[in-house]
Amino acid sequence: MSVLNMASDAGVVAKRNLIKIKRVPDLLVFTTLSPIMFVLLFAYVFGGAIDPSGGGAGYREFLIAGIFAQTVVFGATNTGAGLAEDVKKGIIDRFRSLPMSSSAVLTGRTLSDVVNNVIVLVVMSVTGLLVGWRINTSFLEALWGFVLLLVFAYAISWIMAWIGLLIPSPEVINNASFIIIFPLTFVANTFVPLGTLPGPLRVFAEWNPVSAVTQAARELFGNPDPNPNAIASQAWSLQHPQLYTLIWAVVVIAVFAPLATAQYRRAASR
């Protein structure tokens, strides 16, 4: 199997997944509505509640990166649900009977989910800008912040792909992935300052990659913690959030891409 064929196969599969976005407008509406809702909800409800000074504006800026991180991680669950649906409907059997590259179905799927996340990030950014979020750095730094968020979500997509093929039931998959996603996105610096967490939870939160990618995005967007008394975490992961995020993403892809591909070869419709 040549690399060229592999890339073309993945492209064909990605195109097929993207057609679905076009054909089911409701899907696009909800894909974009929920991020808008997240931004408004967290910025006003939580932002106001957490901010000690009561002003909210600084905290709102601070929260945006956390909301971005959480939402793209949620978006990655689509990967698992989509694959589970394909297994159930026999589409995976059809693909497996074709002389295509066996990783292309997964590569195509994870890539089309990146496109999905790009749409989501654009919508959230616009909403964020409307409620007062500002990028206080350069264009390139901000762009790199968005790329880190996407790379991070891409890695999670591969975990979800593996789960989706392991448990090919779209209903179960949602619950199964939330077991992973909720602790990851909430036991982190996304919405609460780490200082408020008790000992062991704080250690988990400090090394939680969601914290790292959030921290990295905050730095790159120029949205620091508005609390003047906040003490920066000394954990290596949060001292080097960009590097830690990248290492984490590479390791996850290196582990889960082969796992998911092996599971794909085994997957049978039931």
Binding site: M1, N5, S8, D9, V12, K15, R16, I19, K20, R23, V24, K89, G90, I91, D93, R94, F95, R96, S97, L98, P99, M100, A268
Partner: protein, 329 residues
Amino acid sequence: MADAIRATGLVKHYGAVKALDGVDLTVREGTVLGLLGPNGAGKTTAVRVLTTLLRPDAGQAEVAGVDVLADPRAVRSRIGLSGQYAAVDEYLTGYENLEMIGRLYHLGRKHSRVRARELLEQFDLADAGDRPTRTYSGGMRRRLDLAGALVADPPVLLLDEPTTGLDPRSRTDLWEVIRRLVARGTTVLLTTQYLEEADALADEIVVIDHGKVIARGTADQLKAQVGGERLEVTVSDPGALTPVAELMGPLGVGPPVLDEHRRSMTMPVSGGVDVLRDALDRLRAGGIKVDDAGLRRPTLDDVFLTLTGRPTDGSDSDIDEPVTAEVRS
């Protein structure tokens, strides 16, 4: 002539269920093999093994000259599969489905497009070709799935119950398509529940049950194997079937088969019209009201019934007793 499909000793167990229990199959190039068997016999499992979707627990298989276990990808480029349940993407149009399959067979962009339109035309889907398949009827999806198997014009086709859910016209159309392909040298393995279909299309028939081959041969050979003619008696009152079976018993060369739904008794006999005359005399003497009585050649249904001890719908009964063919409504 070479064999396009050759499988030996295929075994696949699911827990205690022996889906395949030592199946041997050969299909000569350019012929049609009909794989027949009741529900749960192992037909789909056999097709999945031959199409590289499932690894058998034991046994070997070669398709189009390539070892299925050693080089699955090479097999995939030489086969077309249409599974038991139509596997079409409901969000894509019929055209997009076929074009995608062409691309994944690496036919190239241009050829894939031309081929997709050609097949839509051939399967009477040209008008619906640019609609998402979500809007298709069951039979239209089925036809699109079959077209998918033909995209690369592969030398070997494996079709799992290809005509289930098709209306009579689509069914005979598909038979025509298959006949034309076979005339050009394509090899076809198809499973079916319809004995008339195997009779019409298959050069050779293999009957499996409980994962084992229980008979093989041409339709004529199988019919000969279960004996010559049948005596069939239809009564007005289904309650009279048991006395009829008792009365007729001594005339038969095999056990009578009762079908309460059709109020009929069928029994293998030998001796031609003399037996029929004898049978009618006995029925009159017994005072039984008869709607219809006659002699007929065995159908593949009789073959099936005799070999598996149950009718095609798969209900169980013992072959030594008079067999009651319960037709489920």
